[in-house]
């Protein structure tokens, strides 16, 4: 470890930023748990999020889409990470993607009505997935749905950004950022420089 100095500073940093963090997007959903300081972990009281850009109905659809894109499937997903809050906050802060989100959500509902006679939010999970597959998988793409694919790609990009910049997203990848080492970390497979025989750790 790099010594006491950094640890002390880390604690001060966390104490200093926790208050500010409470008002940042994505924080009403889950506590501000700090692995670095163990028992000193600080909890932020859960609160109801009020969307700044989306209507309540749009927001619910965004949250559902994020959940479908990065689901809770044994490890936590976009919903637990507060991704919808992040998307609402970023889109509210940025005129550029606003048109794409608004018209895209309108397209999605019109498409759902046309296919299944209901708005997207009212469909069963199975219906929702089968509606989205042609938009999200290249080999299932259908002509005439280009606008929908464009919207889904925008939605997916924001979901990925929101999820993998959250603490839950970091844990999902075991992101090594901001860990400290006594010396420069080294490849553990030195007997096999080409890594031809590395055993897969996950299937």
């Amino acid at each position: 470890m790099a010594g006491q100095g950094i640890q002390r500073r880390e604690v001060l940093r966390i104490l200093g930023t926790a208050a500010a963090a409470a008002q940042f997007p994505g924080f009403s959903k889950w506590g501000f748990a700090c692995g670095h300081v163990g028992n000193a972990a600080l909890q932020v009281k859960p609160a109801t999020y009020h969307p700044q850009f989306f209507t309540a109905a749009e927001y619910a659809t965004v949250e559902r889409l994020a959940d479908i894109i990065i689901p809770n499937d044994g490890t936590l997903g976009a919903k637990e990470a507060g991704v919808a809050e992040f998307i609402d906050f970023m889109v509210a802060s940025d005129p550029e993607p606003q048109y794409g989100f608004r018209t895209g959500l309108t397209w999605l509902n019109a498409h759902a009505e046309q296919k299944d006679g209901k708005r997207f939010a009212e469909l069963t999970p199975e219906q929702q997935t089968s509606l989205l597959e042609p938009l999200g998988f290249k080999d299932k793409a259908r002509p005439g749905e280009e606008d929908g694919r464009r919207f889904f790609s925008l939605m997916r990009e924001y979901t990925v950004t929101g999820f993998y910049t959250s603490e839950i997203g970091f844990k999902e990848l075991d992101n090594p950022a901001l860990k400290f080492y006594a010396e420069s970390p080294e490849c553990p497979h030195k007997g096999d420089p080409e890594h031809a025989h590395v055993t897969p750790a996950h299937s």
């Binding site: 479908i68 990065i70 950004t161 993998y164 075991d174 090594p176 080492y181 420069s184 490849c187 030195k190």
Partner: protein
């Protein structure tokens, strides 16, 4: 009351200015340093050790600032340190990005830390391939200065015995990661070098500075000073001598001259009060960074110097060179699919390099002259950038992101533009900054030679990646726009002929003997190597020349 006269005014506190300030103060000269921005407080201003979710916009910054961003280092973590107030303009057809850190220490607060020496292959390039002119300094002459600088700042690397890269004195190198061993094997098959970079990041405690803790956030500033920056390494030594007065928020406007055209001081704008202030000295060192140094000198018009101070040659602002940067190839290493995550990012992209291998035996063996270097990068980084290229959604998508997380690799080229009459900086008489000072106007285009290097690198890097067993996903596209690298050089080139060069071989201007230039603007071109360590070495040499001139009575010490 008699006005105060310092021995030397130094404009700028980055690599060139910081080295001059330290060297001059330690020699007993009274120095007034002018810095265009404020002092940074590492505890407050360096937001490293902050996770994305500690930041309001997750480190992505306020989208409203997108239009005014000046480069990849100017982000939500460091934005308070970068200057957005002073505009610049571009000539029709020119694209230019100009990130400027005007905080004390300048770009050394956040620099990339790659620190290779120039060699005779660079300094004598014109003799070797016939293009342009040689530097007025040989490697034998500058080598001892590099050795002293390496001792001061600490550079991690190995002795590599390569014609393009003279070796120095090094701290233990960064250890290779999985991706390095895999890419090295690919390079061996293709016949190009893959070696530890020269990285000014302390792999062990050095000269009173703590060892790196390998958090991987160097480019947002280091609050323990485990890599070289002037506020940690040089300015405290200068301040300890009590010979330094550092004036912050002091935006240099012009060099003042007497009736004989000699420098008497500097006029600057106090950005806090917006008042113009004059400060006087027996000698002046301009080290404001390449383009800003030219702007100051071109704005220093007087009866003696109607085209700008020390510009009888008309060469101030000319000969602008820059490094072409870009991603020559990108892909992933299937060998690492599904491996546990690994701290691949501990020195950003400067753990390994592919140092110039072209045109070494014969200067014309390629369809371009000179050469370029490549920085490989990849592995587990702060964000899975590759995810948007993957297909689908749901559990399979999430699993694939995790499986691919340790595997991405990319190759970044660093290729020098050639000196050209059409690449330069001048003043835009139509546009003034908020203090009424004419702004710099950029004229720049990549030349044919450097674009051939770019094409060459795309082919070789894709070949290396395939030879390493990797999958190439992209090896096309355009390079970054000029200015992106933050490695601009030229504008006040050094040389023996006063008609063709702004300064002599020591960085002293030919026209004004008590005016010196001490940053990358004196460089003849930018080579395939980064600039900072060479700025330090040349600034040390210039500063010692200046001290010697004081001793000889040339500038009449206080």
């Amino acid at each position: 009351m008699a006005k105060q006269i310092y021995d030397v005014i130094v404009i700028g506190t980055g690599a060139g200015g910081g080295m001059a300030i330290k060297t001059l103060c330690e020699a007993g000269l009274k120095v007034c340093a002018l810095n265009a921005g404020r002092r940074l407080d590492p505890e407050k201003d360096f937001r490293y050790h902050r996770m994305p979710w500690d930041m309001k916009f997750r480190g992505l910054d306020d989208p409203k600032r997108r239009g005014e961003s000046f480069g990849y280092m100017d982000n939500e973590y460091t934005k308070a340190a970068w200057d957005h107030e002073i505009p610049f303009t571009v000539a029709p057809g020119t694209k230019w990005m100009w990130p400027r850190c005007n905080a004390v220490g300048g770009k050394t607060n956040f620099w990339g830390r790659s620190s290779a020496r120039f060699g005779d292959i660079d300094l004598r390039a014109a003799s070797i391939d016939g293009y342009d002119v040689d530097w007025p300094v040989t490697y034998d002459e500058i080598s001892p200065f590099y050795t002293r600088v390496e001792k001061m700042i600490g550079v991690a690397s190995t002795v590599q015995n390569r014609a393009s890269n003279p070796d120095g004195s090094y701290l233990p190198p960064f250890k290779f990661r999985c991706l390095d061993f895999i890419l090295e094997a690919g390079c061996n098959k293709v016949g190009v070098p893959y070696l530890p970079d020269r990285c000014a990041q302390l792999t062990q405690a050095h000269e009173g500075h703590p060892a790196c803790h390998f958090c991987g956030e160097c480019t947002t500033g280091c609050d323990v000073g485990a890599f070289f920056s002037t506020p940690y390494f040089l300015l405290p030594k200068a301040e300890a001598t009590k010979n330094l007065e550092l004036r912050t928020n002091a935006l240099a406007k012009n060099v003042l001259v007497d009736e004989n055209g000699r420098a008497t001081g500097v006029a600057y704008i106090d950005r806090a009060t917006k008042q113009e202030v004059e400060v006087y000295a027996r000698a002046v060192v301009v080290a404001a960074s390449c383009i800003e140094s030219a702007r100051i000198m071109l704005n220093s018009k007087s009866r003696h110097w109607p085209n700008g101070v020390a510009n009888s040659s008309g060469q101030v602002g000319r000969n602008l060179c820059d490094h072409l940067y870009g991603e020559s190839a990108r892909g992933y290493l299937p060998q690492l699919l599904g491996q546990p995550s690994f701290p691949d990012h501990v020195a950003d992209s400067t753990i390994a390099w592919m140092p110039r291998w072209q045109n070494l035996r014969d200067p014309h063996e390629e369809n371009f002259i000179r050469g370029y270097s490549v920085y490989p990068d990849g592995g587990c980084t702060d964000f899975p950038w590759f995810a948007n290229d993957l297909d689908g959604f749901g559990s399979s998508f999430k699993r694939e992101i995790k499986r691919r997380y340790p595997t991405p690799v990319s190759f970044g080229i660093q290729a020098p533009s050639l000196r050209s009459d059409t690449n330069f900086v001048d003043l835009d008489s139509e546009v003034r900054d908020p203090y009424g000072i004419p702004v710099a106007r950029m004229h720049f285009e990549w030349d044919e030679n450097v674009l051939k290097m770019w094409e060459h690198s795309k082919q070789v890097c894709a070949e290396v990646l395939r030879a390493a067993g990797g999958v190439v996903e992209s090896s096309g596209g355009d390079p970054e726009i000029p200015g992106w690298s933050l490695h601009e050089t030229g504008t006040c080139r050094m040389g023996n002929d006063p008609k063709k060069f702004v300064t002599n071989r020591f960085g002293q201007t030919h026209d004004v003997p008590n005016l010196y230039v001490s940053d990358a603007s004196v460089f003849l071109n930018c080579t395939d190597k980064t600039t900072t360590i060479s700025i330090l070495a040349f600034s040390l040499r210039t500063s010692e020349r200046l001290i010697e001139n004081f001793r000889q009575g040339e500038h009449k010490a206080a």
